[in-house]
Symmetry: C2
DNA sequence: TTATCTGCAAATAATTTGCATTACT
DNA sequence: AGTAATGCAAATTATTTGCAGATAA
């Protein structure tokens, strides 16, 4: 029995073919962040016959089960916003999106995290979740 | 000639009734952040006959003209994401969204801003734009 | 005047849902 | 076997667009 099978069981999800394929794809792809449509195409390209609706349904179940994390990168460039998904590996991190290549870089900064807590606290709140996205471009070597 | 008229002229936009109304509403409302639909309703409720398509068109022109800023608060609660708009007063700030009341609190933190620059720099990038949203809930007094 | 703007209705795009069928356990 | 999951197509939602008529400069 595969490792993914166990993961699905632990999440309380019945082990079906589409769920296994989607989970495996997300684990194996070099592109950590994928949209529902990219996942749909990737699977169909490798011969799987899985519907787009199923991809959306499974991703949202995975999200509830904390197997996956959903992001809305609004690249500011006016394009229609599309959700993208990545495996939830437990440790939180923030994102940098390169506006030229579309590349997504992950980072984590203790100082920023702590500061956020302090700010929420000061205003009488506690943080439930947060999202920090920096839209960046490669830096000119001379500058 | 009203102040808003001047603002529109400066932005290179023809001064039309819908544009004036939308700009004034955003300046006068106590609710700094409004969705296109909220703006549409608010104006129609006060007797203006302005189409929703026009509201969208004007908002996107305002955004290009830097009169307005657009946000996608994905409150994590699974509701469909809707853009919301606020007047662009020049100085940048980040947001806290209360998950219980929907209230939007603005804040600015020099330390976080600086840290972001450093991180982007360290990775070989420069920041074009960024978005930090904290989803929060009122803090229990005892805790 | 005359190009630009507006309102309406129809078009898109991303995502969701209804339902008959299929697949886990 | 029996319930839950899937695929397809139709429905929704937010937003955009085409076009004929209205309007600002």
């Amino acid at each position: 029995m595969s490792e993914e099978t166990t993961e699905l069981r632990k999440a309380g999800l019945k082990v079906t073919h589409p769920r296994l394929q989607i989970l495996r794809l997300l684990e194996q792809t070099d592109q950590k962040h994928m949209t529902a449509d990219q996942i749909y195409r990737a699977l169909n390209d490798q011969g799987e016959d899985i519907g787009l609706a199923t991809v959306y349904r499974v991703l949202s179940q995975f999200e509830s089960a904390q197997l996956v994390r959903k992001h809305m990168f609004d690249d500011g460039s006016g394009r229609p916003a599309q959700a993208c998904y990545e495996l939830d590996e437990g440790e939180h991190h923030d994102h940098m999106v390169c506006m030229e290549t579309g590349e997504v870089i992950e980072f984590f900064d203790e100082a920023i995290e702590r500061r956020q807590e302090e700010i929420a606290h000061k205003h009488g709140y506690e943080i439930v979740d947060h999202s920090l996205v920096m839209y960046v471009r490669p830096r000119k070597s001379n500058g």
